[in-house]
Amino acid sequence: MVEVLYFAWVRERIGLPREKVETSAATVAELVEELKAREPRYEAAFADLSALRVALDQDLAEFDAPIEGVREVAFFPPMTGG
């Protein structure tokens, strides 16, 4: 069970800011595939991974990173701070 967070337009497309997800995925990419298979809104949010960033337990990570032991996975577009 991981906590999955969505920010900015990812949050808007999926329609919620966070949810608990029961998953057997080994990597972020596998988790994304599971989510995309759920509903069209997930499919839409994850259509172009190059437009997305992921953080594992609040550290930026790659989509091929393993998620074993991770408590919090966050998906969001490239940051625009400053």
Binding site: L5, F7, A8, W9, R11, A55, Q58, D59, L60, A74, F76, P77, P78, M79, T80, G81, G82
Partner: protein, 146 residues
């Protein structure tokens, strides 16, 4: 050292008062302030979303790198979130160092990294609706010089 992520406005003068003072080895203080700009004349406000927890953590990491690399005597980073009107201050950084080159470089480094590595997202509010600000390739490219 001060890192703050807040909805409230800040007062640049208050923040900089005494910053870098009381140390004989500080010769240079640089500050940067980001302000909400309206390039199109069709913006009412800017909204900043962030990732509570990760934001502070990401900023702390960036600050730590800057302090080490430029031997900074002190640093301030304040970044606001929430809804901001045109002309309002979005964020500030300040650096205190021995020499001016270090203070300038460290401030630019902090800005470049805050732009693309701190989890903030900007959304413009206008009369015709809202739109997320897209990240610029130039901002990502700016990281390459460090």
């Amino acid at each position: 050292m001060k890192i703050a992520v807040q909805a409230d406005p800040f007062d640049l003068g208050v923040e900089l008062a005494g910053f870098g003072a009381g140390r004989a080895d500080v010769g240079a203080v640089v500050s940067f302030t980001g302000i909400v700009r309206d390039d199109t004349g069709a913006m009412d406000a800017l909204e900043l979303e962030h990732y509570p927890g990760m934001t502070e953590r990401a900023i702390a990491k960036i600050v730590e790198q800057a302090v080490e690399r430029w031997s900074l005597a002190d640093v301030i980073v304040i970044h606001r979130h929430g809804r901001l009107g045109i002309g309002e201050q979005i964020m500030m950084v300040a650096t205190a160092a021995r020499h001016r080159a270090a203070a300038f470089e460290a401030a630019e480094f902090l800005m470049d990294y805050l732009k693309s590595r701190a989890p903030f997202w900007k959304k413009e509010h206008g009369p015709e609706g809202t739109s997320w600000v897209a990240a610029k390739d130039a901002d990502e490219d700016a990281l390459k010089r460090w």
